[in-house]
Amino acid sequence: MKLIYEKSQASRRASSIPDPGVENGTEIPAALRRSEPPHLPELAEPELLRHFTELSTRNFGIDTGFYPLGSCTMKYNPRVNERLVGLPGFRDLHPYQDDADAQGALELMWRLQEILAEIVGLDAVTLQPAAGSQGELTGLTLISAYFKDRGEYEQRREIVIPDTAHGTNPASVTMAGYTVRKVNVDSRGNIDVDDLREKVGPQTAGLMLTNPSTLGLFEERIEEVASIFHDAGALLYYDGANLNAVCGISRPGDMGFDVLHFNLHKTFSQPHGGGGPGAGSVAVRDILEPYLPAPVVVRDGDMYRLDHDRPKSIGRVRGFGGPFGVFVRAYAFIRMWGPGLREMSETAVLNANYMLAKLRDHYDLPYDRHCMHEFVVSARSLKREHGATALDVAKRLMDYGFHPPTVYFPLVVPEALMIEPTETEAMETLDAFCEAMVEIVKEAEREPDLLKQAPHSRPVSRLDEAGAAKRMVLRHHFDED
């Protein structure tokens, strides 16, 4: 398919701009003026819309079908949320509007803060961070502020992270100026507590943990883990990416975590838009509250306001109060479920266990336990016996009309396929997916090339990723004209 630039033709355009009918001489010094216009697309609106419509048909979303991308919680995106976010009172509100004239927005944010705190059992929330990984960086920066305040910052330079952690955890640790201390996972997929004891000490600032872990397993000795850190004077950070497993069932604050980020876009259903937006709101125990980024939304009687006066604040982590549109959707989503959020998590967990039951005899199962909202199987035997990798399985699933699961993550499981159905999928869909997975095993035996050459039904066949990194063609180049 052609690039939009390849469809352009000089002096076509879609836009028309109002003519204010005022004097239009420019006051801009010649030296600062643009010397050559940018090559932006030039098309009339009909061709513009056709281009993007056609592009969309080459993309697969939740609306297209099952999208069991592990760790990403690809649940249905309620369409009412799009309606709400488009209300002019939200959509067209300037972020510098006076608080008195933004009471609806502030109340919504305040309520969301309260609700989020209740869901995780912590004391205070900042909505500012833009995504999970920024939430991590924010959380770690809060930990730094806390230890700085206590004079322990120079001493506590390590953050403990299990092998199973998502890549953003260690990356955030580095960017926050800490050192990663790895801890092993035991044979049940839990943190190896013996190993842990050796690694925690006065040098430890904290733990970063996803619970349930990226293996989809609940950390069975979480209370013990928590006390090891707390006893050492360190803090616990909870990576909330897997919160969809435990809403209304178990709260990180009650597990002993001191700070966490939500991925509002996962648990509370944001349209992921091909990569984002998200929101990485951070909740903290009271001891960390003074350090939260400013401003936070506070309530004074019947009025809501942005509180900028936070002397111990770490400062801003993003513009304004955060990605407000994401809050509108998350708040709406939560209000539709109400306390039924528990049922949401139960259903997500039921769906995952059902799939696990159907697949356990056909793929390798690294840890034989009930899973939470997702699970990891391995294509190790398949690779050994038939040369078909997790990637081949993933690509072949496309031909069955499914988006592949997450592959090759977590790293502790070779040839990992990480499957997360979410609560919004019907049993028939899970059945059909599992049947395809089983069928693919048979295909691997019978006709491995079917997998190796897959996909066969997409607009393109398998793409050369290594080649792309070598070629480094990262933008369209225009013929000199």
């Binding site: 939009i4 801009i28 993309n59 990569g275 266990n353």
Partner: protein
């Protein structure tokens, strides 16, 4: 209102297949002490229509730019977002997809990002752009990290005329990066190239803004030259809507160009979600954070697009990663692409010219003393002779928000208002502004 399909029969069949009696049993791994033994206290479940009523009631308590005549800007601008942008964004195939890890499922969004990267490069005169940063503040922090990697140095220099929020975000993260921040003050609203030169000498990066936060046009080429003279990465924070008429940073020697995407195709949305853009000269491609899409081909040699340069990224390199972005702002960047495609080069130029012309018209019409006597793009600071806060409150009672109280961020400007003009404003509205100001005792021209 929930969004699940399971019936009681389904549940029973599934539990049987799993081999448990109840859903409870699936949670056996959770220690009793950390289980919640009461329902969440978050209000009752709402049906869609109840939710709609609740939310419209909340929305009605906000005064949006359709409900008052607003001259607020200060980084977020009321340019018109055409309906075709929404039409594209609401396509479920775009809206409900995630990061295109599986390129064969995601050629639509991958090609769109490639087109977006191209548009950003064209706007900024750069060689490479990422697929989006979170917003116009965080891309500045990103740029600092790039600079650290590229130069091995740790000093960050920012102009005082750089958006205060941007500076705050840089300050928040700099310590974690192992970097320190130095600020170069302004003189009569502008940054002095010579001061910048000395501050930037030996620094990793020097960031200035064009037009600057006060709406003024800096001598950007001079600043870029001064910044890079001592080896720092000259970084311009630019307004995309200015780039139809103002020179591209790549043309005056910047190493990096960053900015807030909101004015180009995103709604105001009380501050987000929007997109930040981050573009660089080819030299820094491998240090850029964020997703980057590259061209490649499939088994049959057909052109296609994939996420590339992934060895920068957290999922590969973990603690050694130079990019720590997973979820980004693709949907908003797509809005930017659609908007810029709708504008085309002539539309972009016209929006710039007309916003500028209206601002100049307003300067003349109001005849108020300018806080700074330098050329501006579409925003300028005037002195009202009264505390700005009062002027705002009183004008608002007349349905006009006259502008941003810039004294919030800069000393000595407590009586000043910063007023922004987009192509949506009209001479009649400027007349209303003049009337409102005059009614509250500000001495506008007759």
């Amino acid at each position: 209102m929930t969004f699940t399909s399971l019936t009681d029969a389904d549940r029973a069949a599934m539990l049987a297949a799993i081999g448990v009696e109840s859903i409870e049993q699936l949670f056996d791994d959770i220690p009793a002490a950390v289980r919640l033994d009461r329902p969440l206290d978050i209000g009752p479940a709402l049906s869609e229509s109840e939710l709609y009523d609740h939310m419209t009631a909340l929305a009605a308590r906000n005064v949006d730019v359709g409900r008052e005549l607003s001259f607020l800007g200060a980084g977020m601008y009321d340019h018109y977002v055409p309906a075709v942008v929404d039409a594209v964004l609401q396509r479920g195939e775009f809206l409900t997809a995630y990061t295109p890890y599986q390129p064969e499922m995601s050629q639509g969004v991958l090609q769109a990002i490639f087109e977006y990267q191209t548009a950003v490069c064209e706007l900024t005169g750069m060689d490479v752009s990422n697929a989006s940063g979170y917003d116009g503040t965080t891309v500045a922090a990103d740029a600092c990290y790039v600079a650290k990697l590229a130069t091995g140095r740790t000093r960050i220099v920012v102009a005082e005329t750089l958006n205060p929020q941007v500076r705050q975000v840089v300050r928040t993260f700099a310590p974690g990066f192992g970097m320190e921040v130095v600020e170069v003050g302004h003189h009569d609203g502008l940054t002095d190239p010579e001061e910048l030169r000395s501050a930037a000498d030996g620094a990793a990066i020097a960031i200035f803004q064009q037009p600057n936060f006060l709406g003024l046009l800096e001598d950007a080429p001079a600043l870029a030259e001064a910044a890079s003279a001592g080896g720092a990465l000259a970084t311009a924070h630019v307004d995309p809507m200015s780039l139809g008429i103002l020179e591209a940073p790549g043309r005056y020697g910047c190493a990096l160009a960053i900015g807030e995407g909101q004015p180009a195709g995103n709604y105001l949305s009380y501050g987000g979600p929007h997109y930040g853009f981050l573009a660089a000269r080819q030299d820094y491609a491998r240090q850029l954070p964020g997703r980057i899409v590259g061209e490649t081909s499939d088994f049959q040699g057909r052109r296609g697009y994939v996420l590339t340069l992934q060895t920068r990224e957290q999922h590969i390199r973990r603690e050694k990663a130079t990019s720590n972005i997973t979820s980004n702002q693709t949907l908003l960047a797509l809005a930017g692409l659609v908007y810029l495609s709708w504008l085309g080069p002539s539309g972009l130029r016209e929006v710039g010219e007309r916003s500028h012309a209206l601002a100049e018209h307003a300067k003349r019409r109001l005849g108020l003393p300018l806080a700074f006597e330098h050329p501006t793009f579409r925003e300028f600071v005037v002195r009202t002779g009264r505390p700005a806060r009062e002027v705002i409150d009183e004008c608002k009672r007349r349905g006009v928000h006259p502008g941003y109280p810039i004294g919030r961020d800069y000393e000595g400007l407590d009586d000043a208002l910063m007023m922004a003009f987009t192509e949506r404003r009209t001479p009649e509205e400027i007349e209303r502004l003049a009337e409102a100001l005059s009614a509250v005792g500000v001495e506008v021209a007759a």
